[in-house]
Symmetry: C2
Subunit: 221 residues, 2 copies
DNA sequence: GATACCATTTTGGGATACCAAACTGGTATC
DNA sequence: GATACCAGTTTGGTATCCCAAAATGGTATC
């Protein structure tokens, strides 16, 4: 593993894991020291994370991208477009076994599963479903969108009921896909994404004060 | 203008303008000498062009991405998803004047207009239409997709009739958008993209031998 | 106490030096 | 003639150095 990939991966994990808060300043020299690499791989990593939207330039200097509620809403619209297109393709040439693999992912979560794992599986559901479309561009679009949403979803306060509802919606989507019913799968997925967005934005807007108190920059819609 | 942006812009122009052929090898040192910059900005430029899909890593070393017919077909599906979503949004809050600006772009091309300009306007039509959606992510998706398609479209052999047909389709889409008829605009745009893709892939597949003779790597579907 | 100003430090952008791995071309061997 | 092998060269990855611009902090002035 090259240093560049190493720095990139570790820095991404720190940002997504909120070990570095949204809105925090980053200096290339701090990263250099933190990961024991020189500035060349550090700069390469920052350039890539910039295209992922996780860090941004703040005049001179780098900043961990703040949570931006307006952006979250726009991403949801984007997701809806690409995920619905992907699931429609999947329905056309649905591999029964491939869908079963995704269902098994959902099954792997139970009462003993740590919160972090639910979070990851919830994202992977959408990513893996998009992968089944066989279209590399739709897949990457979904994966990148989920990456951008990741921190916000992590901050969302979700009760057991909401989590259970999401899982039920996931299962309903898979059921429609298994039958090859593209219209139904599209309708369910679309509703799921819109619902998720509403809960997410509402939750963050309500908690905004508390989040800022924790040092997390949250930009209003 | 920083060196990095300079190198990036010039190198992108050379690749898109086919001054460096698809499939050609690139060395950081050649670029360094060609643009009179050191390796630091060269490296940054390559990293960004990599995310745009214009260059790729070939083991050790860099290669200008070949024209990939399978990829072109996948991009068309992706475009269809995002452009249709964008135009639907545009229809919801269509600014009459903004649509007129796009129509004026189309009008600016006549018999005396150089082929290169038709090419550029044909792409900008789609990009600007997506911008009107107001959704940054849909806009960027369309812009990036058009960038990836650019070289292939430039290589396409297009007769006057095909060009005229494309312009007529563009105008029809704008007319529907002006009326706020989202379903009609979506239907027309979708058909336009599918038609474009078919003509493009057919043309390149037919010319494949000749293109390879010119030193352009063209990967079959 | 607020503010304008200047010296110092910090920082990102760029240039260069170094290295190990990969590639190249030629040669010896069969 | 084909092939295995080796020295020399090229090249991407990394570290380090330099610089100008921007941030910082202290100080003098009002």
């Amino acid at each position: 593993m090259s240093q560049m990939q190493n720095v990139e991966r570790q820095l991404r994990e720190m940002i997504l894991g909120l070990e570095i808060g949204p809105g925090e300043k980053l200096t290339e020299r701090w990263i250099e020291g933190r990961f024991g690499a020189s500035r060349t791989p550090v700069r390469a990593a920052l350039l890539r994370l910039e295209t992922e939207g996780l860090v941004g330039r703040d005049g001179r200097g780098w900043t961990v991208s703040p949570i931006n509620l307006a952006e979250l809403e726009q991403i949801a619209v984007y997701r809806e477009a690409v995920e619905v297109a992907a699931v429609r393709l999947t329905c056309l040439h649905a591999e029964r076994s491939a869908i079963d693999v995704i269902e098994a992912m959902l099954d792997s979560c139970d009462d003993n599963t740590p919160r972090e794992e639910w979070h990851r599986v919830g994202m992977d559901f959408h990513i893996e479903l998009a992968r089944l479309s066989g279209n590399e561009f739709l897949f990457r679009a979904v994966r990148d969108a989920m990456t951008r949403l990741s921190r916000a979803r992590w901050l969302e306060v979700r009760d057991e009921a909401a989590l259970g509802r999401a899982w039920a919606e996931h299962r309903a989507i898979l059921a429609a896909a298994r039958l090859g019913d593209a219209d139904e799968a599209a309708r369910l997925l679309s509703a799921h994404i819109v619902g998720s967005r509403d809960r997410l934005v509402t939750s963050l807007a309500n908690d905004r004060r508390g989040l800022r108190a924790r040092g997390f920059a949250v930009v209003a819609a």
